[in-house]
């Protein structure tokens, strides 16, 4: 057995039901983001940039596109002889089988996967957050504090604190108590859903938790409170930088628009912390003589003849003449024929808007379902 110092597990089984049509066919981590990526690329790229070469991805809800996106992990340099990427769906065994019933249960069911690497530490991540983070620094802090668990936290505005799991800490950063979505928050340090555990201790807690029929088998609700109750050393690791949980259509749209600032906080153009993704071999983008482009991200394979303002355009999109796209996200292989207006809309993969149509009213975000063909003329939402 080759020992791995730290193994990462990415929780990628969630549906993300508040994203509506966007997650009708794919799990939330596989939702396209930022002009050429999928949401899980952030966590995966963080792993490879942090030198983590063993990553298990726990899937459950509609995993097909997610699994095919990940493949054998080549884009993230995770196609390794030992370790590398492993997709971990729920499974049957002699004693029957079960779906993952909560985050802790999902990890519990994969203790066998973890054991084969004899890890000292386990990093638990969400597959649906937008951020760039060096997990090595977090591990250094975990080791320096002699912690049993370290939880990454981010300072949020007080008025938003009741939407998050809030960590209350002492002056050294040790967590004293934890409140899940508190009505009256005592602190503004929100959990980012990123945990480092010393493995032996985590394993013991997961096994105890599995025996408790009353447990929700959830890290936030059960494991962390149990550790606190046992008087263990839990540390808050403060993260400074851009972090967004794209849980709703509104926050998904905002996070995409955040990328359009020349020096965007996500640092899309940061060369020493690249974002990796599965990329097809397609031509460069062609910008026509009459095109007008303002504050937009445009990907390869596009043919842009019209006007694009403050929008994110995915690969292979065709935008015809006299088209105006504003404040919108146009996903892969959409076709906007001539004389079309798209205003504050999210067009999912493969949408065709026939000539002389208007999509979106500019007030609410219009989401157009995958593969739809919008014909006729007039306003469409």
């Amino acid at each position: 057995m080759i020992h791995k110092n730290m193994v990462a597990l990415i929780l990628a089984g969630g549906q993300g039901s508040r994203l509506g049509a966007m997650t009708r066919k794919v799990a939330k981590p596989a939702v396209p983001f930022g002009g050429k990526y999928r949401i899980i690329d952030f966590a995966l790229s963080n792993c490879s940039n942090s030198g983590i070469d063993t990553v298990g991805i726990l899937t459950q809800y509609k995993p097909q596109q997610l699994s095919s996106h990940i493949g054998i992990g080549t884009p993230w340099d995770l196609d390794r002889v030992h370790g590398g990427v492993a997709i971990l769906p729920p499974y049957m065994s002699e004693a029957g089988g079960d779906w993952y019933r909560g985050t802790a249960n999902a990890v519990y069911q994969n203790l066998g996967y973890l054991d084969q690497f004899d890890p000292s530490y386990v990093l638990i991540l969400s597959g649906d957050h937008i951020y760039k983070m060096d997990y090595r620094k977090m591990l250094d802090a975990h080791i320096a504090a002699g912690a049993d668990a370290t939880i990454a936290v981010i300072d949020v505005p007080l008025e938003e604190a009741s939407r998050f799991g809030i960590m209350n800490t002492d002056e050294t950063g040790r967590i004293t108590s934890f409140d899940e979505k508190p009505e009256h928050p005592k602190s503004t340090l929100a959990s980012m859903g990123i945990y480092i555990f010393s493995y032996a201790n985590l394993k013991k807690h997961l096994e105890d938790d599995a025996l408790d029929p009353a447990s929700d088998n959830d890290f936030g609700k059960n494991i962390i409170p149990a550790m606190l109750a046992a008087g263990e050393n839990l540390q808050a690791y403060r993260f400074e930088g851009y972090w967004k949980d794209v849980g709703t259509v509104q926050s998904f749209w905002e996070a995409n628009m955040d990328l359009l600032k020349a020096d965007n906080d996500v640092k899309l153009f940061q060369n020493d912390w690249k974002l990796y993704t599965e990329t097809a071999s397609i031509p460069s983008q062609y910008i026509g003589a009459e095109a007008k482009l303002t504050d937009s991200l445009i990907s390869e394979g596009c043919v842009i003849l019209g006007e694009v303002e403050h929008s994110v355009i995915f690969p292979g999109v065709k935008i015809g003449r006299n088209v105006r796209v504003v404040d919108s996200i146009i996903m892969e292989d959409c076709v906007l024929e001539d004389n079309v207006i798209v205003n504050k809309s999210i067009l999912l993969t493969g949408v065709t808007v026939k000539a002389n149509n208007v999509v979106g009213n500019g007030a609410d975000i219009a989401v157009i379902d995958e593969g739809r063909v919008l014909s006729g003329s007039g306003y469409l939402n």
């Binding site: 460069s284 910008i287 504050d295």
Partner: protein, 371 residues
């Protein structure tokens, strides 16, 4: 079609395109904003189902080896067959050791294919080689030669082989060189189909003869001896062997009809090495028109009638027109470029003005990233 192996002969004449080949062979010159010259023929082979490609290069192949890697982008990183790189060309066999030849011949013998496609890389086109193979097989010829008819022989295809084709029988009666005196010519595209043994015969013969001339001369010496079939290619082709033809070929790709045929054909895509660059950011105030732009660029200035490679920054007030900018170039504020070719890794200082013209584009050579 039968099962073919392929030999890509990249020992190509660089005499008139030196400015772009100081660090690389013609095959790995960047073209069309994100490709390399060799991508086209390599993709043509793969799209026709060829799974065994031997690449014969001369020295100076570091850039090529880096580009081709294990052949993954072309799906040629195979356990069975795949991509093989040989560090000597077929043209200068007299300079290579007989042992080296023998070792390379072993590769050709070992392949299970009985037929071979021999090709150069510098004729950029998107060709249905499966159709060529079918025609070759149907003709019963010993050797099929692919050619194109041009009416620009006075400016393009300089120094290429020309074929004399009998207008009545369609037979090749002779082969010569294009010395650019007339406009009309049938140009050999340096794509040959034949039996594998036939090719090995040619290689042995050229080695034993210490032939200094082109390897292809040896093939044409067999005109009248073996049965030849001429296959006329009707599609777009540009010959990358001079700076001006390179410039013109790139500018041709700004035409949507040309690019649709060359690299927007979903049945026969052109594959290339994948990099991990973000989408291109068009900042407020930028003006971009009739241009091919790779991912990873940041554009605040003006770009018209130009091709930009990956990671090109065009700062505020800078103007790029009728130019080819290769990967990783930064064009600082208020610089003005017209009819220039900027090779990789160059910084263009603020307020710099560089101008060439259509026939003599100005080439700024690649800078090594050592500072």
């Amino acid at each position: 079609m039968r099962d073919y192996m392929a030999i890509l002969n990249l020992a190509e004449n660089e005499n008139d395109i030196r400015a772009l080949t100081t660090n690389r062979p013609i095959a790995s010159i960047p073209i069309g904003s994100r490709y390399r010259v060799v991508d086209f023929m390599l993709s043509n082979l793969v799209n026709a189902g060829v799974r065994n490609v031997g690449v014969f290069t001369e020295s100076n192949s570091r850039s090529l080896a880096d580009h081709l890697g294990t052949g993954k982008p072309w799906d040629l990183n195979r356990k069975i067959d795949g991509l093989f790189l040989f560090n000597h060309g077929l043209c200068n066999l007299m300079y290579t050791d007989s042992k080296l030849i023998k070792n390379n011949m072993e590769y050709i013998y070992r392949s299970k294919s009985k037929d071979v496609i021999l090709s150069s890389s510098y004729m950029v086109c998107n060709m249905d080689l499966a159709a060529v193979a079918e025609a070759h097989e149907a003709s019963g010829a010993d050797i099929t030669v692919v050619y194109t008819h041009t009416n620009r022989a006075d400016t393009d295809f300089s120094n290429c082989f020309t074929l004399n084709i009998d207008p009545d029988t369609g037979e090749i009666t002779g082969a010569g060189k294009n010395i650019a005196v007339g406009k009309e010519a049938d140009i050999c595209m340096e794509i040959f189909l034949m039996k594998k043994e036939r090719l090995t015969d040619f290689i042995y013969k050229s080695t034993s003869l210490n032939s200094v001339g082109s390897f292809y001369n040896l093939i044409f010496d067999q005109l009248g001896v073996l049965k030849f079939n001429a296959y006329r290619f009707e599609g777009y082709v540009s010959c990358i062997n001079t700076v001006s033809s390179y410039f013109k070929s790139n500018m041709d790709m700004l035409d949507l009809d040309v690019s649709s045929e060359l690299f927007r054909n979903s049945d026969r895509p052109i594959f290339t090495k994948i990099k991990d660059e973000p989408p291109t950011l068009y900042v407020k105030g930028c003006k971009v028109g009739n241009s091919l732009i790779a991912d990873g660029c940041r554009i605040e200035g003006t770009v018209t009638d130009s091709l930009l490679g990956r990671y090109v920054d065009v700062e505020e007030g800078a103007v790029v027109e009728n130019s080819i900018i290769l990967q990783n170039v930064r064009i600082h504020k208020n610089a003005h470029l017209s009819h220039v070719i900027i090779d990789k890794n160059v910084d263009i200082d603020e307020n710099t003005v560089l101008k060439g013209n259509e026939f003599f584009p100005l080439v700024i050579e690649k800078r090594n990233l050592l500072r």
